[in-house]
């Protein structure tokens, strides 16, 4: 087989891979445009329409299909994801900074942190529920579930920052110290701007993982449901294409988030340049 043949084969394989990866998503997207309320989540498409999108926002005449109970759940999930993102990123950055120097017991602490993302979510969720029960603590999405979200996402933020610090040249910090800059100011003015792209990545990880989280939240969130739980709840009755319509919107939201990330990343580079020029003017 010649080189161009191998190239062709690999190209075909990759195309196939992508079809399998994104095929289900594409089918969901297609089915979300099914006519409603009589059309179901199956082929063929009876007629193309945006009925289920309107249905999501309560813009359709009342029918036997109840609107998705997601309004409050969406707000909760976003709030929880933001809280988790902030706390996990701060913890991740500071913990990774601590790990730049070897300290007694650093190996044990490392595995304890990483354990948070390795243990099965259902077990941790159940455990948290039992502990809360025993101690008489009420379970809430902003309490018990929030703690579990941090325990779960903190290791991701930590590992991202650890990798960033691994490639970080410590002599830049030493140069600042030797110019008379205090360690605290060096961290703010020299270290942080240089690791900022990594911090953005850690934030993105924490946010998306928390926003998506199901198994830990299932047992630990108490009465008020988060978005994944609310959606799962609707499945147990009957699946309608309104869920797919919502899935499409969520995916678009994720893309928007990624877009924001890319823009921020670009800005952080541009901003550093501009600040440098401004401050000397």
């Amino acid at each position: 087989m010649n080189a161009s043949g191998i190239k062709l084969g690999l190209g075909f394989y990759t195309a196939l891979f992508i079809v399998f990866l994104y095929g289900p998503l594409a089918i969901l997207a297609v089915l979300s445009f099914q006519i409603g309320p009589e059309g179901g989540p199956q082929f063929p498409i009876i007629e193309w329409s945006t009925y289920w999108y309107k249905h999501l926002f309560g813009l359709t005449p009342p029918s036997r299909i109840a609107p998705l109970p997601i309004e409050q759940a969406l707000v909760r999930s976003l709030a929880l994801a933001v809280m988790t993102m902030i706390v996990s990123t701060v913890l991740g950055v500071t913990a990774a900074q601590a790990f730049r120097k070897k300290f007694r017991g650093s190996g044990v602490v490392f595995y304890l942190i990483v354990l948070g993302m390795m243990v099965p979510g259902v077990l941790v969720g159940l455990g948290m529920a039992l502990v809360a029960n025993t101690l008489g603590i009420d379970r809430h999405w902003w309490g018990t579930a929030f703690v579990l979200h941090v325990v779960y996402t903190f290791p991701f933020a930590f590992l991202v920052m650890l990798a960033i610090f691994n490639r970080f040249d410590p002599s830049v910090e030493e140069a600042a110290w030797s110019l008379g800059v205090t360690p605290a100011r060096t961290f703010r003015k020299v270290t942080f701007p240089l690791i900022f792209p990594g911090v953005l990545s850690a934030m993105l990880f924490a946010f998306t993982l928390s926003y998506d989280e199901f198994s830990r939240t299932l047992f630990a969130s108490g009465r008020d449901l988060t978005l994944p739980l609310a959606i799962y709840g609707t499945f147990s009755v009957e699946v309608h294409p309104n869920v797919f319509a919502f899935g499409v919107l969520t995916t678009l939201f994720s893309f928007a988030l990624l877009g924001t990330y890319a823009v921020l990343m670009g800005l952080s580079v541009r901003r550093a340049k501009r600040v440098a020029i401004q401050e000397e003017a």
């Binding site: 110019l179 401050e279 000397e280």
Partner: protein
């Protein structure tokens, strides 16, 4: 008298118990240019980092301008460090890099700008002041690092192999600039290098280190011509080291019995009644004569040898001769002295030297 820098029995032991620096003693006067010279892992960079405050001191005392600084953190020491990789702040322009030290010290803006402008002009950096360091050449970044370190007016400038990342021609040019700059500013420089040519060309005194210990502290010429220890004799220049025993003295010369005859040289300091010594003969001090010249009968420091190899590199002729006991001797001279082909391999020769140019040192 107050020294700019004093190290009294300074030692460094790493957490795992390995000693990195042992009993380092040194007093540096204001405006001196000191080089720490030694092979990799000899402790020279560790000592420099202890002076900067980046490494803790395990034992002994370090004083800067008479004040003990053992426990003073780096940002409060009157030192400034130049790194081999320059360690410029990539997110700041050249001008801001240079001015940052003054900025955090709270120097007023007008004053700060004036100082930055002056140092940028001194180092020829005005044209690139608004650029980002990442786009600049090694030589330019080297100058920016120097400007950044010098603008804060440190008592002591510490340089960690600052020329190591530059190509040979640029290194020569910056080496000269560095020397001129140091003389005109009168700032004390401590310069770490593993290249003896740099140390010999730049410094007022050289500290040769080996395995954590100071072997010798001397001005370059003295270090080159009068090594104190076998290590220095091997490390600096191209010397032949001949072990032997002291047999007596003749005027200023010490007579040494070696495996290849009775030879003589000048003692470097007191030999403290040592019997076992080394005779150090520099490659360029040895004269080569045809074995049948005969005129040397009766002359001192005569050894029979056989030429093994000869090569000419530019204007220098390098010869290697083999002694009767199998030892190899390096010889070096201007090419005018040993014309190519004058001593082909295999030629039996007589080697001799002026006793004043050979040095007798204790054997360990």
């Amino acid at each position: 008298m107050i020294f700019d820098l004093e190290l009294n029995c300074v030692g460094k032991v790493y957490d795992n118990g390995t000693p990195a620096v042992i009993d380092f003693n040194l007093s540096v006067s204001k405006g001196e240019f000191i080089a720490f010279l030694g092979p990799s892992g000899c402790g020279k960079t560790t000592t420099l980092r202890m002076i900067a405050g980046f490494e803790g001191i395990s034992s002994g005392d370090m004083l800067i301008r008479g004040e003990r600084v053992n426990d003073v953190p780096p940002q409060r020491r009157p030192t400034s460090m130049i790194f081999q990789n320059y360690a410029l702040f990539p997110h700041m322009s050249v001008r801001r890099n240079v001015g940052y030290g003054l900025e955090v010290k709270g120097v007023a803006k007008a004053d700060r700008e004036a100082k930055v402008d002056r140092i940028l002009a001194t180092l020829g950096l005005e044209d690139i002041a608004e650029r980002k360091p990442e786009k600049l050449s090694g030589g330019q970044r080297q100058r920016i690092a120097l400007a950044r370190g010098l603008v804060v007016e440190p008592d002591i400038l510490l340089l960690d192999e600052p020329l190591g990342a530059l190509d040979a021609n640029l290194r020569k040019a910056i080496q000269n600039e560095l020397k001129l700059l140091q003389k005109s500013l009168g700032v004390t420089f401590i310069f770490v290098t593993h290249a003896q040519s740099e140390a010999l060309a730049l410094s007022d005194r050289i500290v040769v280190m080996n395995q954590g210990r100071v072997e010798q502290v001397s001005p370059p010429h003295q270090l080159y011509t009068r090594p104190n220890t076998p290590f220095v004799a091997q490390f600096i220049g191209r010397n032949t080291v001949l072990p032997g025993e002291v047999a007596g003295s003749e005027g200023e010369d010490v007579v040494v019995t070696t495996g290849i005859g009775t030879l003589s040289g000048r003692a470097n300091g007191a030999l403290a009644n040592r019997r076992r010594v080394n005779l150090v003969v520099p490659a360029e001090a040895i004269e080569v004569h045809a074995a049948d010249e005969g005129v040397l009968a009766g002359a001192k420091n005569r050894i029979d040898a056989r030429i093994e190899r000869s090569e000419v590199v530019g204007h220098i002729a390098h010869l290697t001769a083999r002694l009767q006991d199998g030892r190899a001797v390096s010889l070096e001279a201007h090419v005018d002295k040993y014309r190519p082909g004058a001593f082909p391999a295999g030629t039996p020769v007589l080697l001799s030297w002026n006793p004043a140019e050979a040095t007798v040192i204790p054997a360990h």
